[in-house]
């Protein structure tokens, strides 16, 4: 109880102090509250004023002769006529629907009127090319053959060349406008001709393509936001946390208050916990304010409206078209069709108003997004705390923060630019990136609970390791006093003193680093089409080079006591009996648990298929021996060396049996990333950890592991073995299963009876 009160004391004081820091307040409150509205205003205003400026500007066009000039003027006049007609239509619609209708997109589109255009005939002897390239005119137009403005409708294959300059903004604007206007002209001529020939211009649009998205407008907005917002939030969260993180660690050291804190009778873990809480709190408040500010801008600012204005109310339109199709025989008349379309147009305008209101959806998604940000804030709070704890001065810490920020922003940025990345495969455990993708999925309304939980769990795992490392770093002498030692003494082997076990934080860090590596290796190298032999060799490789070798190397480098770290002891007679009993009965028991789980939480068909596919990939091999070696013997040894050896060796010094069993078991479960298997594999991991702790030896765990995996594989080939152990695929409790459960329990009792020859 007292422990929590102290953490609370530290938390409260650090929070008060941080909130009195102007820099923290700036990043936390001012930036989000002011940045987005300003950004938004500036953006919309800039767009509008740019359009406005372009429309006010005067442009010059040079043409080779008088005929050209007159023709071009007449084209412009016809274009303006059409514009007026469109405007009148919009106004009429507005009147009809009794609402104000703003053609939002038109406001952002440049329309250069005839008044702003000066068309001049080039002086004889001057090259049009030179006139434009010397920027005396914005654009030159020249047509071949010479156009006739009176019989404009007779033009056929008239080649119109526009000379412009890419680097001159006015020239470019005018060039685009000309292109646009000439396209219209071309269409007008075609229409007039076709109408003269056949009475109407329907022939010009044999296909009328209408794109109707079945996604509701709010979802479409969500999609647009999903690409930007997660990344923005990640960046902002980091920005908010950065100052408190530095201030609470390096800042404290620099100002000389760290010593006073270190001499007070409080364990450094509690101090770090309090500080960590403050960093996470400030990061989350920053996120919250950012999200709130963004929502407010969308709600009150122009963007939502703009967006809503663009959404077709696709459904009513589609239904109308469907109705037309079903009435096909009677309604071949174009008149009816036109009416229906106009009707639709009206309805669309009305519904757009509704869509506008629905932009408020962001408000409903916000809490979930915020929730997804918690593990992220926790992770980076931990990392920043650990990294800053190494720094001696504020400046040094700021330098260290640059790569930390990059490590958050770069994956976020990359993922933002890849909208097709889904929350699956390696992405599930990719630090940072998985949170960005998760948020995007949430924005799109996709809730995959299994994927989400793996994503959140793995992030929490990284965060926990970061915090533990932070505690270790914080209490370290070389870090506490800058004059005490050099960092080299922490890293180089010749300075490392022999010790019995790896430090707990270090063991966890090692496992945390290997975790994604293992994941990538497995998911990128194991392919359905590669054939079982190749897949098996990949597994063998990861087992040897990711699980066993790194920790054995580390154990050597750190001069650890191999016997103690890896529990290389021979267990006593009671544990041996217990081990044999458990080993004999473990496969039926774990199978039963798995069946119970699948009974109550059945797998989806997709997951089931995937599982079968995996089995096919791995067990399809004709050689049973190879499968046994790679899938039972190697994991039994290599995984045990990593989990029950190195990891448990580190964890158990600082925790009770219960804690060690829980932590090592859960991490073991997480390593087998298949979400459906995590519960049972975790239980298995807990059992193995328990056995190892009780017997003080790794050998029983190795044996049980090998037997459990081995029986699972062998039983796929030998039906007799399968029925003997009752490894049914249905949830049926046979009498022999009960016998096995009893054997299992007796085995456990034997194991609990006496501690093995474990070293103290």
């Amino acid at each position: 109880m007292r422990r929590y009160r102290r953490v609370w004391t530290v938390y409260r004081k650090e929070l008060i102090e941080s909130l009195r820091d102007r820099r923290t307040l700036m990043a936390m409150v001012l930036v989000p509250l002011v940045l987005y509205p300003v950004l938004m205003l500036v953006l919309v205003q800039a767009l509008r004023s740019e359009t406005g400026r372009q429309e006010r500007q005067n442009y010059t066009i040079v043409v080779p002769n008088e005929a050209h000039r007159r023709w071009l003027e007449s084209v412009w006049a016809r274009e303006e006529e059409e514009r007026e007609a469109r405007k009148a239509e919009v106004e009429q619609l507005a009147k009809a629907s009794d609402r104000e209708v703003e053609d939002a997109m038109a406001a952002l589109r440049t329309e250069i009127g005839a008044k702003q255009i000066t068309i001049e005939v080039a002086e004889p002897g001057l090259s049009l090319w030179d006139l434009v390239s010397e920027q005396r005119y914005d654009v030159a137009v020249l047509a071949e053959p010479v156009p006739d403005h009176e019989n404009f409708a007779d033009h056929e294959n008239l080649i119109v060349q526009i000379l412009y300059s890419d680097t001159d903004p006015l020239s470019e604007v005018l060039f685009r406008q000309l292109n646009y206007i000439l396209d219209h002209e071309s269409l007008r001529i075609a229409k007039a001709k076709v109408t003269a020939l056949s009475g109407n211009d329907n022939i010009l649009s044999p296909l009328r393509v209408n794109n109707l998205s079945t996604t509701s407008p709010d979802r479409q907005l969500a999609k647009a936001l999903a690409l930007v917002v997660p990344f923005l939030l990640v960046t902002m969260t980091i920005t908010g946390a950065i100052y408190p993180a530095i201030d609470l660690t390096a800042g404290e050291r620099e100002r000389g208050t760290l010593e006073t804190l270190a001499v007070s009778p409080v364990p450094s873990g509690q101090i770090v916990a309090g500080k960590f809480g403050v960093i996470v709190t400030i990061a989350m408040v920053t996120t919250m304010l950012n999200l709130a500010s963004m929502t407010a801008v969308l709600h009150f600012g122009g963007l939502g409206k703009l967006f809503a204005g663009r959404q077709p109310t696709a459904k009513s339109e589609a239904l109308a078209v469907e109705a037309m199709i079903s009435n096909q025989d009677s309604a071949s008349s174009a008149v009816l069709q036109r009416q229906a379309l106009l009707d639709n147009l009206n309805r669309r305008r009305g519904l757009e108003g509704e869509a506008e209101q629905r932009v408020g959806f962001v408000t409903t998604a916000a809490p979930i997004v915020l929730l997804a940000m918690v593990p992220f804030a926790v992770l980076f709070g931990g990392i920043m705390l650990a990294v800053c704890s190494f720094a001696r001065t504020f400046k040094e810490a700021q330098n260290y923060m640059v790569p930390v920020m990059m490590s958050a922003i770069v994956p976020g940025l990359i993922v933002s630019y890849m909208p097709t990345i889904r929350l699956e495969g390696p992405m599930l455990v990719m630090p940072v990136a998985n949170i960005v993708v998760l948020m995007r999925e949430l924005f799109l309304g996709n809730f995959d609970l299994a994927a989400m939980s793996i994503c959140l769990l793995s992030t929490c795992f990284y965060a926990a390791v970061a915090v533990i490392v932070a505690v270790r770093v914080y209490g370290n002498e070389a870090v506490l006093f800058s004059d005490v030692g050099n960092y080299k003494t922490l890293v180089l082997r010749k300075f490392i003193r022999p010790q019995a076990y790896p430090p707990a934080a270090f063991a966890l860090l090692t496992v945390a680093v290997l975790f994604p590596l293992n994941f990538y290796a497995q998911s990128s190298l194991i392919k359905a089409d590669a054939g079982p032999t190749q897949n098996l060799s990949v597994i063998a490789g990861t087992q040897l080079f990711l699980f066993a070798m790194p920790v054995i190397f580390l154990a050597w480098y750190m001069k650890l006591d191999f016997r103690r770290t890896f529990s290389l002891h021979v267990p006593g007679p009671f544990p041996i009996v217990g081990t044999l009993l458990v080993a004999a009965s473990v496969a039926p028991v774990s199978n039963l648990l798995q069946r119970i789980q699948f009974h109550f939480f059945p797998l989806s068909d997709g997951a089931l298929k995937l599982m079968e596919q995996q089995q096919e990939m791995l067990f399809g091999d004709p050689s049973l021996w190879l499968s046994l070696v790679v899938l039972a013997l190697l994991p039994g040894i290599c995984e045990e060396v990593l989990f029950r050896g190195f990891l448990l060796g580190g964890v158990r010094q600082r925790s009770s049996t219960f804690q060690a069993v829980l932590v090592v078991g859960l991490i073991f479960g997480l390593y087998h990333v298949d979400a459906a298997k995590v519960p049972v594999v975790s239980l298995m991991g807990m059992l193995l950890t328990f056995v190892c702790l009780r017997t003080g030896s790794i050998y029983p765990a190795v044996l049980i592991h090998i037997v459990n995996n081995g029986l699972g594989i062998a039983s796929t080939k030998f039906p007799d073995l399968k029925s003997f152990f009752g490894l049914s695929e249905e949830l049926v409790v046979q009498s022999r299963t009960i016998v096995f459960i009893m054997l299992f329990v007796i085995g456990l009792l034997f194991l609990m009876k006496r501690r093995g020859s474990s070293a103290p």
Binding site: G256, T260, P265, E477
Partner: protein, 275 residues
């Protein structure tokens, strides 16, 4: 003789150096302090004073040796030992954005006092150290003297029976210096055991009852002034020190009696104190 409250036995700290060998910063130091005694740990810069005091305060873990504070083994019962100890240096900082009242409250809570106890102790300290005029201002704006008084109050918050002070007057102005020295004397008179490290020998001579002269990590002399005078055959502390370090001849050559000895970093100023 009363029972010692601080017992240090064969304390050693070895640091690895980047060159690959070891540096014995503190090498087998033993001493004890009784309640009411002021123990002066004297020596030049780099002699191992700070390292020794940091080990006693539980900031550094000794390579070997035992330490008992108020009956608690510093290594085995670190938190209890820390609770019976107040720590003060001239360089310890204050939280700039807290007021002295908030700061003292914070450390009171960390020590484990309850609210009424904190309030009572705070009022006592504010009155005794004359802090009323600035106790509710932010520490960032306080003068050096006010800061050091706040620091003293922080060290005394838990009313610890032992005070460890590492160069408490280093770099302070005359007025603040006076505050600190008065406070040390008063606390000694109240029956606290005080361990004081300094390289200002005049200060030490005016305050301390017992001395430990430390040179290159070893105690070269220990005891009260009389015992040291007898052992070294000299009268003044600086001479005693130089004699005991075996630096007598070549360093003293040409330096008049009572002068300063820069080579050892020991200051022994003439009349009027330091500037």
């Amino acid at each position: 003789m009363t029972k010692p409250i601080v017992e240090i036995c064969e304390l050693t700290k070895v640091f690895p150096t980047t060159e690959g060998d070891e540096k014995r910063a503190v090498d087998g130091i033993s001493f004890s302090v009784e309640p009411g005694q002021i123990f002066g740990l004297l020596g030049p810069n780099g002699a191992g004073k700070t390292t020794t005091l940091r080990m006693i305060s539980g900031l550094l873990t000794p390579t070997s040796g035992t330490m008992h504070l108020n009956g608690h083994d510093v290594r085995a019962r670190r938190l209890e030992a820390k609770r019976s100890l107040g720590y003060l240096t001239a360089s310890t900082g204050l939280y700039q954005r807290l007021t002295p009242r908030e700061l003292l409250h914070y450390f009171g809570e960390l020590i484990g006092l309850d609210k009424p106890a904190i309030k009572k102790r705070l009022e006592e300290l504010v009155e005794w150290l004359d802090m009323a005029s600035f106790v509710d201002l932010r520490c960032g704006g306080l003068s050096t003297g006010q800061k050091q008084r706040t620091n003293i109050a922080r060290a005394l918050m838990g009313d610890p029976p032992i005070l460890v002070m590492d160069e408490p007057t280093l770099g302070l102005d005359v007025l603040t210096n006076r505050v600190v020295l008065d406070f040390i004397r008063a606390e000694g008179a109240k029956g606290k055991a005080i361990i004081l490290s300094t390289h200002y020998l005049d200060e030490a001579e005016a305050l301390c009852h017992q001395y430990g002269l430390i040179h290159e990590g070893r105690l070269v002399g220990r005891g009260d002034l009389a015992a040291l005078q007898e052992k070294a055959g000299r009268r003044r502390l600086s001479e005693i020190f130089l004699a005991l370090c075996g630096q007598d001849e070549h360093v003293l050559a040409g330096v008049p009696e009572g002068g300063s000895n820069r080579a050892l970093g020991m200051e022994y100023p003439k009349e009027g104190g330091r500037s």
